[in-house]
């Protein structure tokens, strides 16, 4: 509770400081780009969060996004009148299949999550090139229904709450409720908190990890559809490239423990918002895009450092 207050207070102070030093961050243009940036990252971070709560990690999310977006682009370019729901279902399906491959590698082949998903990070990205024969899907090949979903939505003055943003928030609420109220959600926490103990209690490791990696894959796949919609172009090499870093940063900054068992959707959602503000803020402040990645790294280090310090303080108190 106290931690939540500190976090909230810190975030509020940061926003205030930003507003004083960078008023242009709060005009409708900047706010719209923050809101446009959010949905895709939120989806991928939610999936990553479930995986990290189990004590694992999935670094292939960016490649899952890329391959899913590529498959979608190739399919819809031949069926321009496909309903939008079906387009997103394709993305979900591709993502689920790819997530299940990660799951098989981790449970059946017993490869460590980091190593297994580094391998699929490369493999899925490679498949994206192969699927499109190296070519790029451009906006003219994509249907209007897809492109409009990121530009249209509920309008409040100059600010647009796009259908994608609304969809991703609804999904976040569903994930939050699922983790709190569904038995499998509790099993995810139990497994992450104490894998050996959950085996003793008859919780199936395979089922828990399937939920984690398949849902992570599905959400990353869906994010592929969001990517295509927002950028109106899918290049097999750049779609979702490096996104795993953003997602892991969002999850860690959001208070999810890398050792498993701890984490909330609210924390991750807040930290996605924080990263969005940071991202747009750097641009508005005129800081070169070259700095972006480095700033992410420093922010992530700071978050890890704070988490570590809390852990050490706690241990010192216990001793």
């Amino acid at each position: 509770m106290k931690q939540a207050l500190i976090r909230f207070g810190g975030a509020a102070a940061l926003v205030l400081a930003l507003w004083l030093s960078l008023p242009s961050l709060f005009d409708s243009l900047a706010i719209n780009s923050i809101l446009a940036w959010l949905p895709m990252v939120l989806l991928v971070s939610l999936g990553q969060m479930i995986v990290i709560i189990t004590g694992g990690i999935d670094v292939s999310v960016g490649s899952i996004l890329g391959l899913s977006a590529m498959v979608l682009g190739l399919v819809v370019s031949k069926n321009l009148d496909m309903p939008i729901e079906q387009q997103f279902l394709i993305c979900l399906g591709v993502g689920t299949i790819l997530g299940s491959i990660n799951w098989l590698l981790i449970t059946t082949a017993k490869i460590q999550p980091l190593i297994a998903t580094i391998a699929t990070l490369a493999a899925f990205r490679g498949l994206a090139f192969i699927a499109g024969k190296g070519s790029t899907v451009t906006g003219s090949m994509l249907p209007d229904s897809l492109l409009n979903s990121s530009g249209q939505g509920i309008q409040a003055g100059d600010i647009t709450f796009s259908w994608l943003l609304i969809g991703s928030v609804v999904i976040a609420i569903c994930v939050s409720l699922g983790l709190k109220f569904l038995p499998w959600g509790r099993a995810v926490y139990a497994y992450g908190s104490q894998p050996q103990g959950s085996f003793r209690r008859g919780i199936s490791e395979r089922k828990v990890l399937f939920i984690a990696y398949a849902v992570c894959g599905a959400l990353s796949g869906l994010a592929g559809g969001f990517y295509a919609s927002r950028f109106a172009i899918v290049h097999p090499g750049t779609a979702g490239y490096g996104l795993e870093l953003t997602a892991i940063a969002a999850v860690v900054i959001g208070g999810v423990k890398l050792t498993g068992g701890v984490g909330r959707v609210s924390g991750v959602a807040m930290s996605c918002l924080f990263l969005a503000v940071l991202n747009v803020g750097l641009r508005v402040a005129g800081i070169s895009a070259d700095w972006q990645l480095a700033v992410y790294g420093f922010v992530l280090l700071a978050a890890l450092g704070m988490d570590r310090k809390r852990q050490l303080d706690k241990e010192r108190l216990a001793a």
């Binding site: 038995p183 509790r186 992450g192 104490q194 068992g261």
Partner: protein, 501 residues
């Protein structure tokens, strides 16, 4: 309980018939018979490594037996997982509970079978039922708080509560009292009595005789994985049970070392630290001193503190007349100490590296040539010399240490410390999991080192090994030294009586 109808009606015994269990070529259980009768407490007892816990784990669905069967009445059970055992009403309470620290106490109790309504977890019902179960155990805890920071006794009660919540009929306690204080143990026994009073069957794994005699109705003794004896508790005595625990023929391997007990190499006075208190003993040059006791008695903790791995709370350690307050293991190594750890996999071996590197790691800085590089020919020559007397079976010094057998790996770890020519050699379970011939090689080497004047401290759960090696033995129980035995007084019975009674 909440659901009166379970798969198995009460009143039927749980029995094991001709259970055989082996890991690789090592046979843990041989044709073991055992049964749990409703309303009675059946103790499983035996020496360290007799197979007590393995038998419990077979019944709990954690280990799969190679042959033999577990039955309830006449029904043969298929116990492929802990969950399968639970569905038959069998629960194992572990010595080391594994609570879900980040979850609420309620969830810890009902984990795996949370009450739901329309598919979603019914939190109000969950907390209510958790409160009821805890009340039954006389435990007052806020069920909504997290399980972080609970005492081991409370953690165990949480596991027990979880078993109660699943309508368990057969409770098996695996060395559950080992980490408990006497008062906590008394509380646990009260719970056990209330369990049998309402018709549950209870099995307890224990090697503490006073506990076995206090709580049990019948006793099964295991020895080397076989059923050695079965008694009605009222018709036997602790001494008789101990005799069946250890009774086997053995050759004490009497060695007539003319120990000119010279210099006092190690002197420990009133040492207290994590897991032990007020320990005193000394070892002279050329003497082999043993620390005996049951698993959990605090033997390993003592040597860890002496070697500087764990802290010391109070007391003094003197090495060759000089005070020794180890801040790190390198302090101890510099004073001529060497420790061969118990768990060679995690503490001793550098897996994936060669035999040569594993042997020379602690002394390699002495073999530098003029360019400050390792002089590989002296390094190899010294390693070969150290390993030569140990009969290590290997293709060559460059073989990956992972591919050696357990016995040979142990010899490599021992050889490593011989290269540093220690004054005081500490061996923790020097031959655990090692085959008989390698064991003989290791024992012979230990004897010859003592003859060369090395002071040796041996911690071993294998009583025969203690008797075969040691000149003097200190016996520990629950963190204290309860007595010491001279060579002439050493027997399995004399040690076990001190360690277990």
């Amino acid at each position: 309980m909440a659901s009166a109808m379970t798969k198995n009606s009460g009143g039927l015994p749980l029995s094991c018939k001709e259970i055989c269990l082996s890991f690789g070529s090592f046979q843990v259980l041989k044709d073991v018979e055992f049964s749990l009768q409703p309303g009675r407490v059946h103790a499983i007892t035996g020496e360290n490594g007799a197979g007590k816990s393995s038998l419990a784990k077979v019944m709990a669905g954690i280990y799969r037996q190679q042959s033999g069967s577990v039955l309830i009445g006449d029904e043969v059970l298929r116990l492929s997982s802990p969950k399968a055992a639970q569905s038959h009403g069998i629960a194992l309470i572990h010595q080391e509970p594994l609570p879900f620290e980040h979850l609420s106490i309620s969830e810890n109790i009902f984990c795996g079978s949370l009450p739901t309504r329309w598919g979603s977890v019914d939190w109000a019902m969950l907390h209510k039922r958790a409160q009821e179960v805890l009340l039954e155990l006389g435990l007052e805890l806020d069920v909504k708080r997290s399980a972080e920071g609970l005492s081991i006794a409370d953690q165990q009660l949480l596991e027990l509560a979880s078993a109660l919540a699943m309508d368990t009929k057969y409770f098996i306690f695996d060395e559950t009292t080992a980490p408990l204080t006497p008062k906590e143990t008394e509380g646990l026994f009260k719970v056990i009595r209330s369990l049998t009073a309402r018709g549950c069957a209870v099995g307890i794994v224990s090697h503490h005789m006073h506990e076995v005699f206090e709580i049990s109705d019948e006793i099964t003794v295991l020895r080397d994985g076989e059923k050695a004896a079965h008694y009605e508790t009222s018709e036997t005595t602790p001494a008789q049970v101990i005799r069946s625990m250890v009774g086997r023929d053995f050759d004490p391997g009497i060695h007539d070392r003319k120990s000119e007990h010279a210099e006092r190499v190690l002197d420990v006075q009133n040492l207290s630290g994590p897991g032990f208190s007020d320990i005193s003993f000394s070892i002279r040059s050329g003497e082999i001193f043993g620390l005996a006791g049951l698993v959990g008695a605090g033997r390993t903790e003592v040597i860890r503190s002496i070697f500087g791995i764990a802290p010391i709370d109070s007391g003094e350690i003197t090495i060759s007349g000089e005070q020794h307050a180890p801040k790190s293991t390198s302090d101890s190594i510099a004073r001529g100490m060497a420790l061969v750890p118990e768990d060679r996999r995690s503490d001793g071996l550098f897996a994936g590296r060669s035999v040569l590197e594993n042997t020379s790691i602690t002394t390699v800085h002495k073999h530098l040539n003029r360019l400050w590089m390792i002089d590989q020919s002296t390094e190899a020559a010294e390693a070969a010399e150290a390993l030569d007397t140990l009969n290590v079976a290997m293709r060559g010094l460059d073989q990956d240490v992972d591919t050696l057998s357990g016995g040979n790996q142990q010899k490599v770890v021992l050889g490593r410390w011989l290269m540093s020519h220690p004054k005081l050699l500490i061996l923790d379970e020097p031959t655990r999991g090692v085959d008989i011939s390698a064991k003989a090689d290791v024992h012979q080497k230990i004897h010859s080192l003592a003859e060369q004047g090395v002071a040796i401290l041996v911690v071993s759960s294998d009583l025969l090994e203690v008797i075969a090696l040691c000149d003097r033995v200190g016996v520990m129980r629950r963190g204290s030294m309860v007595g010491s035995l001279e060579r002439s007084e050493l027997s399995e019975e004399s040690i076990m009586e001190m360690a277990a009674l």
